[in-house]
Amino acid sequence: MTALLHVERVSKRFGGFVALDGVELAVAPGERLGLIGPNGSGKSTLVNCICGTLQNEQGQVYFDGAPMDGLAAHQRTHRGLARSFQLPRPFVSLTLADNIRVPMLYTVHKRSGPLHADSVSARCVELLSLVGLDHKAHHMPRDLTQVEMRKLELARAVAAEPKLLIADESMAGLSHSEIDDMLKLLMTLNQRGITIILIEHIMSAVMRFSQRLVVLVTGRKIADGRPEDVVRDPEVVRAYLGQ
């Protein structure tokens, strides 16, 4: 199997605190991977190391066959790695349509040559309608509800036309029907050929979405396999419920 993403023995420390301890992870093209773990287990640090927001001290991240070591976050985005943030971080002074336009101008533009202004606008509308926000294209992010903010966050990540999308807790705080909406959206994106890593605390959502489940506890990977098997793993149960 040639992995799309290969995380090889990645470690990260913050002073004396070991946030990641030799994490190994491979993700195949087109896969839907769930990543879970208790609070503070290093999930977001792992995402930050993969996406270049943080630089890992040890180990190596390979994406699409190339080492990502030393590349800045924007360079990784140009190569097809996109993420949404745990807490939505919209560009507050830009309209929704312009929020979506940024990755198109700076990433898609760069990758596949100049786009025509009309096709950029059309694509903005298309992406916003994909997440059901097309009627608010000319609103500002401050007019949005929490769930809409998360949808915008996803739409902006998808606008970069990534090969791999990392959705960092895009469902926290949402209602059941909103979670269903989000899952449907992620499934649609996956069917369009985007590999997805879903980081989530809501187990029902993770179990429905994931083809494979990885568990991080205190910076180490303790389980990796079919979701049904992983949740029965005694070590995982112990990490979540205590002994």
Binding site: A73, Q75, P90, V92, A159
Partner: protein, 318 residues
């Protein structure tokens, strides 16, 4: 409106203003107008980094002074003085390079730390100039210019020549700021102002964009400073690096509004004129008091400046 018609219209307005001032026959108006226009350039330049990217520069006076001292340097060096347009280019290059270097050293800092670093840079540069005898050191330098500019049988009073140069610079600065605002670069700058992490994640090369902003901003400030020794006649470090430039470059965009090119333009025209008026009618040192008071008032009643006030009005109407 596209850029070319915009520039054409602005040039038209500028030439009309020049003709109008000439018609009054009052030479002082050119002297006062020069200072106002100089502030238009400084405020617009500050806004490229401070307003568009959200990086507050307290060291504007240093970039301005570097441009001025570049002119002094060439004045002292050459037997035949260089024409001022060439000095403007030279000043722009020197300040642009210093802007790039400052950016490289400080842009990993954010917020108050960046502001403090720019202030420190200004102090360091002032110390260098004070101790550099060739350009006059702490004694200052005298620059003499002919009374009239003679150009192939055509004669123009020097104050009008300097005014015209500054008018052209102001046009260039405003047109450049406006073009940036509407370009891909302007989009990138706005994302840096809003959220740098999210900008990086969207593929925006934030460090490179910030370096472009510091270089452009510094270069424009240097260009504004280059003709200054010829205007003032006697240049000394303490006033060239003075509070007046640093504070005004920040206050003018703040009062006008920082998110668009028109804000610094309005702020500089308004604040510059009021200060010049007060300097002549009340006292020569009251100008900073006016800036301070206006800044306080605006921070309280219109934190987004005049442009913000107008936007608010427009939004409330429908």
């Amino acid at each position: 409106m596209r850029s070319l018609p915009f520039i054409a219209i602005c040039t038209g307005i500028a030439l009309l203003a020049f003709a109008g001032l000439r018609a009054t026959g009052n030479g002082y108006l050119f002297v006062a107008g020069y200072i106002v226009l100089q502030f238009v350039v400084l405020a617009t330049a500050w806004n490229i980094l401070g307003g568009y990217c959200g990086y507050v520069n307290f060291g504007s006076a240093a970039f301005f002074a570097l441009g001025a001292y570049t002119s002094v340097f060439f004045y002292k060096l050459e037997e035949i003085p260089l024409p001022i347009p060439l000095l403007i280019v030279a000043g722009g290059i020197v300040s642009g390079i210093v802007g790039l270097a400052t950016g490289y050293l400080t842009l990993r800092l954010r917020g108050a730390f960046f502001a403090i670093a720019t202030l420190a840079m200004a102090v360091v540069l002032q110390t260098l100039i004070v101790n550099w005898d060739f350009v006059g050191g702490s004694r200052g330098a005298y620059i003499l210019h002919p009374e009239n500019l003679e150009l192939g049988g055509f004669s123009l009073p020097y104050s009008e020549y300097l005014f015209l140069l500054m008018l052209a610079l102001a046009l260039i600065a405003v047109a450049a700021a406006r073009a940036i605002e509407r370009s891909q670069l302007g989009f990138g700058f706005a994302t840096i102002r809003d959220d740098e992490l999210a900008a990086e994640a969207s593929g925006v090369p934030t460090l490179r964009l910030k370096l472009i902003a510091t270089t452009l901003s510094g270069a424009l400030m240097g260009m504004a400073g280059a003709p200054f020794p010829y205007y003032i006649g006697y240049l000394q470090p303490s006033s060239t690096f003075g509070l007046e430039y640093g504070v005004n470059s920040i206050a003018m965009p703040m009062i006008g509004g920082t998110t668009s090119w028109i804000g610094p333009l309005l702020g500089a025209l308004l604040l510059g004129s009021v200060q010049e008026y007060a300097r002549v009618t009340i006292s020569s040192s009251i100008n900073l008091l006016i800036v301070g008071l206006l800044l306080v008032v605006f921070v309280i009643i219109a934190p987004n400046g005049l442009v913000g006030l107008v936007h608010q009005r427009l939004r409330r109407k429908p």
